[in-house]
């Protein structure tokens, strides 16, 4: 059995660890609230730009646009959004696992653009070709970052460096659930509008376009892309913070359990020591008689 002194030391250090995890939990709870507000505030725009894009695409028919060009997928790019930091449970691991799943059996040429340090480190170590990396995204996601990523993607795509582009990120479902998702960014597939898909073509509204539908589409597509990436960044941020909060909550809980277990064995050890001393004294006294 461990000595009394060892037990005391272990209790002390576990208590210190618990203080840290508790503090981290409080910090990420505050950050999570902010990040969560940002995601929810950004969702209407996303939803609407998708709607408008769908309707414009429907109205403009088979328009040729460099971002709509479908090529045989020989060179595929993954835009991977992870967190910059760890200590958030399986958050980064889940995204990375999702990517590795996608890559399994792929014979295509693969390149990656990573946002967040964790994804970058992982795939760089494994020798993947990383064309762009965005690290140190900070707590407040800037729209600018999304613009940089999307202009890189657009450039590579129009130069036919990529034939397909996918976005992999963690969707923020709720505080306890983050779901890694893979979304096809390019060639852009204008989402079918829910209402129109159900009610058929009769519902098709004849829009006036100013300028022509093709031109609107040409302006809309890059914005759509930017927004998809921006939304991904926000979702990922909110997910990261809530994953960290949950992880730290568990850690604090585990530390409590550990402390109570250790305290119990410490008390036992102390009791045993006292008992032993008494019996030694009694034994000593008996020997004198």
């Amino acid at each position: 059995m461990a000595s009394l002194r060892d037990l005391r030391r272990r209790i002390k250090s576990t208590e210190n660890m618990q203080k840290i995890t508790k503090a981290m939990k409080a910090v990420s709870a505050a950050k999570m609230r902010r990040a969560q507000d940002a995601v929810l505030a950004a969702r209407p725009y996303s939803k609407r730009i998708r709607g408008v894009l769908g309707r414009v695409a429907l109205a403009s028919g088979a328009v040729k646009h460099p971002l709509l060009a479908v090529r045989e997928p020989k060179k595929v790019c993954y835009v991977i959004i992870t967190a910059d930091r760890g200590l958030c449970g399986g958050f980064n691991g889940n995204v990375i696992r999702r990517v590795t799943q996608e890559l399994k059996g792929a014979v295509t040429e693969i390149s990656m653009i990573t946002a967040g340090r964790k994804g970058y480190d992982f795939f760089r170590k494994r020798g993947y070709n990383i064309d762009g990396q965005f690290i140190g995204l900070g707590e407040d996601i800037k729209y600018h970052t999304a613009q940089e990523i999307s202009s890189l993607v657009i450039k590579k795509y129009t130069e036919a460096e990529y034939d397909e582009v996918y976005l992999v990120y963690s969707q923020f479902v709720n505080v306890l659930v983050q779901k890694p998702v893979v979304m096809k960014l390019l060639p852009a597939e204008p989402p079918a509008e829910e209402g129109q898909a159900k009610e058929g073509q009769a519902q098709k509204v004849n829009y006036i376009f100013e300028p022509a539908a093709e031109d609107v589409l040409a302006e809309l597509l890059p914005k759509y892309l930017e927004n998809a990436i921006y939304q991904g960044l926000l979702e990922s941020k909110a997910g990261e913070q809530s994953a960290r909060m949950t992880a730290m909550d568990n850690a604090t809980q585990n530390a409590s359990d550990m402390i109570s277990k250790l305290t119990l064995s410490m008390n036992r050890a102390r009791q045993a020591a006292i008992t032993r001393e008494i019996s030694e004294i009694v034994g000593g006294a008996a020997a004198l008689e």
């Binding site: 209407p44 725009y45 730009i49 309707r55 509204v205 829009y207 006036i208 100013e210 300028p211 914005k223």
Partner: protein, 134 residues
Amino acid sequence: MSEKTQRLDIVTPEKKIFSEDIRFFVAPGSEGELGVLPDHAALITALKIGLLRIEQEGKKFNIAVSGGFLEVRDSKATVLATAAERAEDIDVDRAEAAKQRAEQRLASKTPDLDVLRAELALKRAINRLKATGR
């Protein structure tokens, strides 16, 4: 008799900044300004940097938008703006500073100058100032 109104939503990538029933608005379309009354025909247009002039039950006010799109359908108008600010939210000092910065950049004529970007920045700054001016 209440006047006929239409719904106007203004959303930016960051958040929804306006969602109210209004009577009339003028939008800075890429092909020229256009006014929209309730029951306007369905329309989708690109917007350029400019002012969204809104009339709402006797009130008139401006919202500065820096490009985006406008969709009108069933007396519901949606502005998808890259950035949008209500006149009262605009920080005049900051806008003034941004304007001067952009002007300086344009005037300096350094070889690595991104003229297009500087011009856009200047346009946005002027636009923000205009929104507060009235």
